[in-house]
Amino acid sequence: MPLSPPEQAPEVLAVEGLRITVNGGRTEAVRDVSFTVRAGESVGLVGESGSGKTLTCRSVLGVLPPGCAVAEGTARLGDTELTALDRRGWERLRGQRLGAVFQDPASYLNPSLTVGRQLAEPLRVRQGLSRSEARERAVQLLGAVGLHQPEEVFHRYPFELSGGMLQRVLIATAVAGDPELLVADEATTALDTVVQAEVLDLLAQLRAERGLALLLVSHDLAVVAEVCDRILVFYAGEVVEDGPTEQVLAAPAHPYTEALLRVASIGDWGRRELAVIPGRPPEAGEAPTGCRFADRCEYAAPQCRSDQPVPLRPAGEGRRTRCVRADDLALAGTGREEVTA
């Protein structure tokens, strides 16, 4: 179960009114995203591919794909404004205050250098360790992420290690500089379930040991539910629901979250049908005005299709929703009998 963070721990990451455009500014892909991650807290961004969760996380890392840009809003890491950083500013930040882990770890490591060298290089360059100190520290880190025989692994090339081992290596590189925030973008997606569980355990363990804040991005609600204190559900470039994990799972405040829960079949649904959400999410820039989920929503009412964007509004203690009918609906969460309005 997720750890509860100290209530008023300092904010590590604060994202405010973020808007991201693609196609060189012509299309809006993400709008009105605001959230905070406090020290020791873990926050999960969940949604289908194209929902904007990865763009949001990439903008925090400063690695938006070509043609994509932050058009509005701010993102602060501690007291550093990320959206205003130049190349050198990012270089100072990454590896030291900001670490990242991605899907397909093999591709994020240089295939022609040993993993040890890649782990030790920033230690020498950024932390000024000597060659032997860096080596020692690297081996220590490899051990700390649960790799057996770290001295052996140190001399291995990426292609000589399994996917799970590579993800551990990547985690080691990400936490090598003792960052305040660790971003994990679909970090367990390509792994098989057993390894996935191990890597998630490792992330939870590192968070507890080092007190780092974790921003986890995944399309898999089950993964996010296992690790995160707080969940943000993305749909068509917007945050549609935000709240503490347990509450969101138990009683979703947005029909899309309910549908996701049904698809993910978390908990014990009496009838486990093959659940799908009808229709497809709108393409970036082609979302309907009003509620963007309305066309696929079984609870859609005329007031959902207004010509104004639906605002994200409070829905109880520490919770927000973008559903117009949130107050009228009693949506089904996990472990409950299905209740419809």
């Binding site: 240089n110 295939p111 090339y157 290690l161």
Partner: protein, 346 residues
Amino acid sequence: MSAALPARIARAPKPLAQGLLTTATVFLLASVLTFGLGALSSANPGAAVLGDTATPADIARMNHQFGLDRPLPVQFLSWLGHALHGDLGRSWFTTVPVAQSVWQALPVDLSVAGLALLMAVLLGGAGGIAAALSNGGKVDRAVTAVCAVLGTLPAFVIAIGLIAVVSVQLGALPSGGYVPFGQDPVQWLRFSLLPAFALSLEAAAGIARQLRTSLVGALRENYVTGASMRGLSSRRVLFGHVLRNAAGPALTVLGMSVPMLIGGAVVTERIFNLPGIAQLALQAAQEHDVPVIQGTLLVTTSVVLIANLAVNAGLAALNPAARRGRRGAAASGDPVAISIPEGATA
């Protein structure tokens, strides 16, 4: 929790030994071709050397001295055997040992070709990197255009142009001649600069083009993001990581340009009046001096083969997969490599 280490690093199948074997085979075949070409000669060296007044008996005796009355396979084996011991026979006309002439000419070629190679790497490397970094921009288009022009301009036209401008018009550098490096390095450089530059441009264009292509590809790779996420500066990422992975194809192009620089430089040597192997071969060709022709061909081929070996060694050094005997796995991020499950949690 733990992750057990797979004990499955394949033992490397001695790529160096394999390369040497292939090279030896190729050398043998090339020597057969070289000798065979000589054997096709209809020249009658005895008659040519002794002149019109010689009697048939004298000519026969002379040809016997040259060993030309023996069966061809015997001649070949004897020729190759001597060649492997550094004896390439004697010129039919000057009776100077071929090895001696070649030995005098070879340093000229090697030093000029070496300088040309250096220039090609510097020019091509800088051009390729600049083009890749400005991918699609002005610099990229300029480099691409220059490379396209250089690809169609033969080295000797460039050489003539250089002489016309640098030597004749500006009088900056000599238009021809040579001073050995050991004798006077500065003079050597003055005489070598123009021919080396003329020779280097085509190779430089090839390297720039290849490097641009592979760099543009490599810069899109995830490991570039990975490296910069570790906090490495973009310069460090480029030179320490990307260039290393993108250098392979450019190195191959470099290797392929070695024969062009050493043996294909005949015209350039002639234009700049360099006393190199090609000049030696040219003179021998005009005199139908078969031993000299064969000797120059064999030595040039050997130099090319050695250069190829060096390039392959360089490629192997760049590619850890090949070094550990797993072909191409590193390049493709071979999913087959990810076959060993992690150990159970402890």
